[in-house]
Every structure is written in structure tokens, then in C-alpha cells.
């Protein structure tokens, strides 16, 4: 293994490189698809965001630097969209779906088997339905002559035209209705892994149900909580169909979250460049969350 070996290794090394390439060949179709249809558009997204491109074509497109962004941050409609997106994500995902999902998972653990089956079937059914159907059903639910007002009338409670008076609340509740199943499934799985002795020990020590949940269960499942929060935030950030079916961003721009605003700017106002700049903002926010999510998974692995 001295001088003669040194010359001999050159061959196997090249062989290994070729072998490595060959072994990597099955990756090729996936890599090509991803590069053309995902990486390509993202690169385009970054480029277009700095141009004044219009829907009519690329002929009159100029590089405009940060104009789109300065314009966006001075645009009250954009600021409105950012605020609404925040309200939508925090209200419907972080607070709504997350809390409701956890509550359902905790209660279902204590419920009898048939009740558990009924609850999870109903909640999951709302989740499995296509987005547009869910949007339409929620429209019918919150509509002036809809089921919600019918129920309120039956209970002799005040009614209102939800889609006009509180559209963002209606849209948030719609997203909670549609999306809670995911959190419920995540938390049901997580609660299964909580050691029963731990909870019982706390009970013997005199901890009430709230204390047990807050001090024992939640700390044990904190990783699932973080993962769930990340994933539902990412999902909620890009919700378009649900809102568009229910309100089309209206009335006025009261439910115009970033995806809807982006669509309106690019296709209704024909400002592809400006719409893309908004898309880039959305993409960057999504990417940040995605990076945090990966880091958490990495920590879990180590």
C-alpha cells in the first residue's frame, strides 16, 4: 500500500465518480421537473419582481430596481393585505385551528369510542372536501339567508349579514372549520405518546386537569406543537381558493389577504411586475418559516 497503490487508486477513484453519477441517475427526472417548474419560476419571480412587466407582454418590460417594493410599502392596499394576512394566519391557524385541534384531541381521549369516531369523522370530512367546495359551503353557512342566521334565529339571538359586517371573521372561521382536522390528527398522535405514568403521577400529586395539561402534557408534546404551528402557518399563508370562493377579497378589500391581493394586482390590474413583487414577499415569508421548520426537525434528529 505504498507507491504502487498511489497510482492504482486514480483508476478506482474515477470509477467511483462515474459510479456515483450512475447511481444518481434515477434522480434525474425529478431534478429536471423540479428545476424547470419550481426553481425556474422562483428565479423568474425574483427577476420579475424588479421589473415593470405588464400582462400585455414582455416587450415593454424595464428593470425598475426596488420601485415595486417601495411602491408596495407606500400602498395602503398592500399594507391592508399584510394586516389581513396576519389576522388570518394568527386568528384562523395559530389560535383557531391549533387550539381547537388540541382541545378536540384532549377531549377525544376521554370520550367513549363511538363519540370519538363520530367527532373525528365529521371533522375530517370537512378537511377532505376540496377547497372550493368547502368555500362554497362556508359561503352558504354565513350568507344572509344562510344556516348560521337560521340557527341564530331559532335561538332568538341577533343575526347579521356576516359576509358584509364581519367578513374577515367569517373567512377565519371558515378556515378553522376546514383545517382543524390536521391539528387534531397531529395532537391525537402526540397525546398517544405521552407516558401515562407521568399524567397519573401528576394527578396523584393533586394537579387539576388544567395543570396537568399545562404543566405535564404540553411540555411533553412541545415538539409536536411547534411542528404543527409551523405547518398550519405555511398552509394558511397560501390559502386562496377558500377566500376567493367566499368573498373574492371583498366586500371592498376587507378579506384581501396577500395571495388574493397578489392575484388581483397581477391579473385584474394587469401589473405582473407588481403582483410578482407581492408574491416574492409571500415567498420569502414562507421560506423563512420553512427554514425554521427544517431547523426544528434537524434538532429533533440530533
Amino acid at each position: 500500500m505504498t507507491s504502487s497503490a498511489a497510482t492504482a487508486t486514480a483508476g478506482p477513484r474515477r470509477g467511483r465518480a462515474v459510479g456515483g453519477l450512475l447511481r444518481g441517475m434515477p434522480l434525474l427526472p425529478a431534478v429536471v421537473l423540479l428545476a424547470v417548474f419550481l426553481a425556474g419560476p422562483i428565479a423568474y419571480c425574483v427577476y420579475y419582481a424588479f421589473t415593470d412587466m405588464q400582462l400585455t407582454g414582455a416587450s415593454g418590460t424595464h428593470f425598475v430596481g426596488f420601485d415595486n417594493f417601495t411602491r408596495a410599502f407606500g400602498d395602503s392596499d398592500f399594507v391592508n393585505a399584510v394586516v389581513l394576512t396576519l389576522v388570518f394566519v394568527v386568528g384562523s391557524a395559530v389560535v383557531g385551528q391549533n387550539t381547537l385541534g388540541l382541545a378536540l384531541a384532549v377531549l377525544m381521549e376521554k370520550a367513549t369510542r363511538p363519540v370519538r369516531a363520530v367527532t373525528s369523522t365529521v371533522v375530517i370530512a370537512a378537511w377532505v372536501l376540496p377547497e372550493v367546495v368547502a368555500g362554497y359551503l362556508m359561503y352558504a353557512f354565513f350568507f344572509q339567508q344562510g344556516s348560521l342566521n337560521a340557527i341564530l334565529r331559532g335561538l332568538h339571538l341577533p343575526q347579521q349579514n356576516w359576509l358584509y359586517t364581519l367578513p374577515i371573521l367569517a373567512v377565519c372561521l371558515a378556515n378553522v372549520w376546514r383545517g382543524t382536522a390536521f391539528s387534531m390528527l397531529v395532537y391525537s398522535a402526540a397525546l398517544n405518546d405521552v407516558p401515562q405514568e407521568l399524567v397519573e403521577a401528576a394527578e396523584v400529586d393533586g394537579a387539576g386537569p388544567w395543570q396537568r395539561l399545562w404543566r405535564v402534557t404540553l411540555p411533553v408534546i412541545r415538539r409536536s406543537v411547534m411542528t404543527n404551528l409551523m405547518l398550519i402557518t405555511l398552509q394558511t399563508l397560501s390559502v386562496f381558493g377558500l377566500i376567493y370562493t367566499m368573498t373574492r377579497g371583498g366586500p371592498g378589500n376587507k378579506t384581501e389577504t396577500l395571495p388574493v391581493f397578489m392575484y388581483q394586482q397581477a391579473f385584474t390590474s394587469s401589473l405582473i411586475g407588481y403582483g410578482t413583487a407581492v408574491a416574492l414577499v409571500l415567498l420569502v415569508v414562507g421560506a423563512l418559516f420553512s427554514v425554521v421548520y427544517i431547523r426544528m426537525l434537524k434538532m429533533e434528529e440530533d
Binding site: P26, L38, M108, T112, A117, A279
Partner: protein
């Protein structure tokens, strides 16, 4: 301090308490359970209202926003079961989602094999890129995709839309498939290798047969996702005769000022049936492993 000074006393007290009040405690647990069951049932009933409304509206001749049906009718279904309204959009959806799913599953099986089996310096960065892209909001890239498709003349093309759907589903597909493949033991493969089988033969003859359940899960998951996808075909397709059901539901709602809610509900039911069926298959196949547990098995 007080606790540590007399640990025994502290530990004994609740023990005695428990024996003394064992009966009331059990009763309290029972009433607690009834309360939990009752509140879950009330909640489920509320949750069910919109779904119930859809079922009722589909057999309601007057198509109003009410939770009552004076005389059930099949008229709504009869009205929509024709080529233009139902069959063609469903077929379009089936072609695009079926083709996209097939492409996505084949590519992810192929990609998962090297990622699962071979060690390489590029493996980890590649996997992290895949995981990263599963989190990206696809909604945000649709405008550049639209501009790109206009430039290469792929706009309003069903194959183009199919390709994009496949690509968008690919990161999650690869990730899931790789995890399923990791569960197939290496030992059998090594034996085949010694007998001279190449990587593709091993993948086809040994690995795949052992991970059919995983492949089916990825297939169903991908298909459900595509079937419900509204934004991608909404942006990339223009001609009404190319639209899949996910978008044609929408044109339904906006086309007529006097929306036929009964017909729309009937259409929504027909459009939703495939994914609901697939989900039931999925839930049954995954059984307890999917945290659904007894949910759908009863």
C-alpha cells in the same frame, strides 16, 4: 421545605383520602365523561351543519339557503349530469390529476431510491432542499409560472398543467417515499446484489413489492391534493372545455346571477365523492398507524 420534612405523611394522606372518597371520585369521573361526550356531540352537530346543508340542498327543488326540504327531488342531479356540466370537467380532472399523480409517483420512487440507499456528500443538502420546498407556498409562484407558460406557449395546455401539478407535488412525494423506503430492510437487497442484479432490477423486483402500502399512500395523497387544487388550473387554463371540476365549480357559482344552489350542491357532491372514497381507502389501509385509529373503523 414542609414537604421534604414529612414525606411519608404527605404521601399517605391522599391514599387514605382516595379510599374514603373512592365512590364520589368514580362518580365524578363518570359525570366528567358524560360532559365530555355531550360537548363533543354538540360540537360535531354544529360542525356537521354545512355538510348536512349540502346534502339537503342537492335534493331541494327550490335551492334556497334553508335547512329544510319539503319534498326531496332528484331533479338537481338530473340537470347537471350531462357532458358540459359534469362529465367533461370530471374527465379533465381525472386526466390531469391522474397523469400528474402517475408522473409524480414514478419520479419520486426513482428519486427516493438513491436518496434512501446511497451515501453521498450531496445527499443531505438535496434532502434539505426537498424538505424546504415542501414548505414553500406554491400560490406565490403562480404568477411567474403564468408568465413563463405564456412565453413557451404552454398556457391553456392540459399537458403543461399536468406537468406543473406533478412538479408541485414532487417535493412532498419524494420526502414521503424516501421515508417509506427507509423502512425496507437492506438485507434482501444485498442478496440480490450478490446474485448480480442491478439497481433498477433491485428496485423493481425487491424494494417496490415490499413497499406497496407506502406507494399507495403517496399515490392517494398526491391525487387528493391535485383533485382539490383550484389555483393552478385556474391560472394556467383558459378554455372552458379544458377546465377540471375544481375550477368549473367556480364558474358555476359566478356564471349565473341566479346561482342554482341545488345544482351546485349536487355537483359539489359528485365532485367530492372520488376524494372521499380515496380517503376512506387510505384511512383503512393505514389503520392504527395514521393516528386515525379506530375513527373510521368504528
Amino acid at each position: 421545605m414542609a414537604v421534604t420534612s414529612s414525606p411519608r405523611a404527605v404521601r399517605v394522606r391522599p391514599e387514605a383520602d382516595r379510599q374514603a372518597v373512592g365512590g364520589t371520585r368514580r362518580r365524578r369521573v363518570a359525570t366528567g365523561r358524560i360532559a365530555v361526550n355531550a360537548s363533543l356531540l354538540v360540537f360535531s352537530a354544529l360542525y356537521l351543519v354545512p355538510l348536512l346543508w349540502m346534502l339537503l340542498a342537492s335534493v331541494n327543488a327550490h335551492g334556497s339557503f334553508k335547512l329544510t326540504v319539503p319534498s326531496p327531488t332528484g331533479d338537481n342531479f338530473r340537470q347537471i349530469l350531462n357532458t358540459d356540466t359534469t362529465y367533461r370537467p370530471m374527465l379533465n380532472g381525472l386526466l390531469m390529476c391522474g397523469g400528474g399523480t402517475l408522473l409524480c409517483v414514478v419520479c419520486s420512487v426513482l428519486a427516493a431510491y438513491p436518496l434512501s440507499r446511497f451515501r453521498s456528500r450531496l445527499r443531505r443538502p438535496f434532502l434539505y432542499t426537498i424538505l424546504f420546498s415542501t414548505g414553500l407556498p406554491i400560490t406565490a409562484v403562480m404568477i411567474p409560472v403564468y408568465s413563463m407558460f405564456v412565453q413557451v406557449n404552454l398556457i391553456d395546455s392540459m399537458p403543461g398543467t399536468t406537468l406543473f401539478l406533478a412538479a408541485a407535488a414532487l417535493p412532498f412525494g419524494i420526502w414521503l417515499m424516501k421515508n417509506f423506503m427507509d423502512g425496507v430492510p437492506l438485507v434482501l437487497e444485498e442478496a440480490a446484489r450478490i446474485d448480480g442484479a442491478n439497481a433498477m432490477q433491485v428496485l423493481w423486483r425487491i424494494v417496490l413489492p415490499l413497499m406497496w402500502p407506502g406507494v399507495i399512500v403517496v399515490t392517494i395523497f398526491t391525487f387528493i391534493g391535485m383533485w382539490g387544487n383550484f389555483f393552478v388550473p385556474f391560472i394556467l387554463l383558459l378554455s372552458p372545455e379544458k377546465l377540471p371540476a375544481s375550477v368549473s365549480v367556480f364558474t358555476f357559482l359566478s356564471a349565473h346571477d341566479q346561482t342554482q344552489y341545488g345544482q351546485l350542491s349536487a355537483f359539489s357532491i359528485i365532485y367530492s365523492i372520488p376524494v372521499v372514497m380515496l380517503y376512506l381507502v387510505l384511512a383503512r389501509r393505514l389503520g392504527g398507524g395514521f393516528a386515525l385509529g379506530g375513527a373510521l373503523k368504528g
